[in-house]
């Protein structure tokens, strides 16, 4: 006859572990309480932080995050050359990370121009309007991310020839009753006629700043006819993530000597924003959650240790039935791991429900980090594993003879 090795299947181990912890359901429930609280705290803390950060960063969406505005101080006399010349724009566009850029001249003097359409165009519409008139370079639609509702934007030819053409912002066209440019409608600004060659479509993002309700002229024409003067603003659309860099470089490219006078408006860095929020929220609660987990682990260890002593007779019996020391150790380890795992699952569920509830009450969109939610049960099991090590070792060390002597 050969002497084999004692063996135990994984399913038997799990069955025995589950039977062990379900024998005293109330005690098992209380045992896992610390783990549940710890995991819940962690999931809520991380979940609320992620949700809040997303909420704040969400305001600066991908479009807004690529917008840089350079504000140029206006001089008392618009006839003088400003700190930024129209010809500086190509230097800016050459910068790495700049998608499109446009310079805009919008002096205070032209903010309230009297604008009317050709009376013959639509006799019924009220045609006298107070609208801003601005001079721009050709790249404006690209910068605004706007397409043309109808017609086209003026090009370099129009600019070079100082053509008396105009493009209406979407809002301005509506006010003026211009629907189509097929018949070459004219607008009169302070009595001067311009042919409307296009209407701008809707503007997305934050660069609009009233442009869609303005009359847009080639800057050359605008300067000639209405003394719009040098650029007052430069609008820049950057590549994603390039905004902070371009915000630094743009003033120098636009005005190597006068860049100090320029003011730059750039979106806050979303990463910094998110990190900052998480920093504020997390610190204390993460510590709290971890402390709860440690307390939970101590709880499991304590109760398992008591259980081991209570079940001395059972340990002796199992050894008599052929359980090796390691089988006894595995069983108590499996029991504490299952307790920790269930605690982790309960904690994660409670945490997720809480995060959703908090988000709903604040009208936020809940953000649940999958690794956190999925990792919570693993963390619980780990807590159980660590907590079970010592009791399992104690159980395995028992001499079967001594264990069987106990009357239970």
């Amino acid at each position: 006859m050969t002497v084999g090795r004692p063996s135990m299947g994984v399913r038997d181990l799990l069955d025995e572990a589950v039977a062990g912890i379900t024998a005293r359901p109330v005690r098992t429930g209380l045992t896992m309480l610390g783990t549940v609280i710890g995991i819940t705290t962690l999931v809520i803390t991380l979940g609320v932080a992620a949700t809040a950060a997303d909420q704040i960063a969400g305001r600066f969406d991908a479009v807004t995050a690529t917008e840089v505005t350079v504000v140029i101080p206006t001089l008392p006399d618009p006839a003088l050359p400003g700190p930024v010349a129209w010809t500086a724009l190509p230097d800016l566009v050459r910068l790495n990370g700049v998608r499109a850029a446009a310079a805009v001249a919008r002096p205070d003097s032209s903010a309230n121009a009297r604008v009317r359409t050709n009376d013959l165009h639509d006799p019924t519409s009220v045609t006298d309007r107070i609208l801003p008139v601005v001079g721009t370079t050709t790249g404006l639609p690209d910068v605004l991310g706007a397409s043309m509702a109808t017609g086209r934007y003026f090009d370099d030819g129009h600019v070079a020839r100082h053509d008396r053409v105009a493009v209406l912002g979407g809002g301005a066209a509506k006010l003026l009753g211009v629907v189509t440019v097929d018949d070459g409608p004219a607008v009169f600004v302070d009595g001067q006629a311009f042919t409307v060659i296009g209407v701008l479509g809707p503007v997305t993002g934050g660069l609009d700043k009233g442009l869609s309700s303005s009359v847009l002229l080639p800057h050359t024409t605008g300067d000639d006819r209405l003394r719009l003067g040098p650029p007052t603003t430069v609008l820049i659309r950057t590549d994603l993530g390039a905004a902070p860099l371009i915000a630094e470089q743009a003033p120098i490219a636009l005005s190597p000597n006068g860049h100090a006078a320029l003011r730059v408006l750039a979106p806050p860095d979303p990463a910094t924003l998110r990190g900052g929020v998480q920093h504020d929220v997390n610190g204390l609660f993460v510590v709290l959650g971890l402390v709860s987990l440690v307390v939970g682990a101590i709880g499991i260890a304590n109760v398992t240790l008591v259980t081991v002593v209570e079940r001395t007779g059972e340990i002796g019996l199992r050894r008599a039935l052929g359980a090796a020391r390691r089988h006894v150790a595995y069983q108590f380890l499996a029991e504490s791991v299952v307790v920790g795992l269930i605690g982790g699952v309960l904690g994660a569920s409670t945490g997720v429900v809480s995060v959703v509830a908090i988000s709903i009450s604040r009208e936020w969109t809940p953000v649940l980090d999958l690794p956190i939610v999925a990792g919570a049960p693993v963390a619980g099991a780990l807590v159980g594993l660590l907590a079970g090590l010592y009791p399992a070792l104690r159980a395995a060390r028992m001499q079967p003879v001594d264990a069987l002597r106990s009357g239970t």
């Binding site: 006859m1 002497v3 084999g4 090795r5 004692p6 063996s7 135990m8 299947g9 399913r11 038997d12 025995e16 039977a19 379900t22 024998a23 005293r24 007779g313 059972e314 002796g316 019996l317 199992r318 050894r319 008599a320 039935l321 052929g322 359980a323 090796a324 020391r325 089988h327 079967p400 003879v401 069987l404 009357g407 239970t408």
Partner: protein, 224 residues
């Protein structure tokens, strides 16, 4: 093949003075033997049972179980041999609470390589053998003492061990229940089960076919 073959087995516990719990014990038990071990309290009965059950290792001598020399085996080998060859019956029953009777009996197979599918069936068969088929779903806490001990015997019978080792099996039972358990031993003896029953109760030992007496660690067979 001889089930138990002890030659010159000794077991001394370190104390001041040292306790010689077993001294130069020789014993042969053949298949189908029904042997009782009697002796006063502290005479060494439990030490003998622990030795026979591979729960304790003798300091000297040789112990062959089913022809296998056990004194040279390591812990693992003895555990495996114990699980597969020996069925234990204890005075305290050692049934697990919160587990059904049939679960308690099936526990005997958890540490053996057997198919799980028919485990419950075999446990029920063992319960039937001790006359408790109708108690399979019971909580052991609801059984009488005699019934509990019969459940423990059923657990020990699962897997047809070479040897059934019983330590004071009737120690916690009243007259009537003792009688039922002894009747069961008689039946098992007739079926060819090898039985070693340790007891301090002369009446219990009188039912066994062979009787050995242990006195201060020395074993002597009483011929009848």
């Amino acid at each position: 093949m001889t089930v138990i073959h002890l030659t010159g087995v000794g077991r001394t516990f370190p104390a001041d003075p040292p306790v010689h719990a077993l001294r130069d014990v020789d014993l042969r038990v053949e298949p189908g033997d029904y042997l009782s071990v009697v002796g006063a309290s502290g005479s060494g009965k439990s030490t003998l049972l622990n030795t026979l059950g591979l729960l304790d290792r003798p300091d000297s001598g040789s112990y062959l179980l089913d022809g296998v020399e056990t004194t040279t085996l390591d812990d693992r080998g003895r555990t495996s041999l114990r699980g597969s060859r020996i069925g234990f019956v204890f005075q305290a029953f050692h049934l697990l609470p919160h587990r059904s009777t049939v679960d308690n009996v099936a526990l005997a197979e958890v540490y053996r390589k057997t198919d799980r599918a028919h485990r419950a069936q075999r446990a029920e068969a063992a319960l039937a053998r001790v006359g408790l088929a109708h108690r399979a779903a019971f909580d052991p806490g609801k059984l009488s003492g005699g019934e509990r001990q019969r459940v423990a015997i059923a657990r020990a019978l699962v897997g047809e061990p070479a040897l059934l080792l019983c330590d004071e099996p009737t120690g916690n039972l009243d007259r009537a229940n003792t009688g039922a358990v002894l009747d069961l031993f008689d039946e098992l003896g007739e079926q060819g089960v090898t039985l070693v029953v340790i007891t301090h109760d002369e009446e219990v030992s009188a039912r066994a076919a062979r009787r050995v007496r242990i006195d201060d660690g020395r074993l002597s067979e009483e011929l009848r």
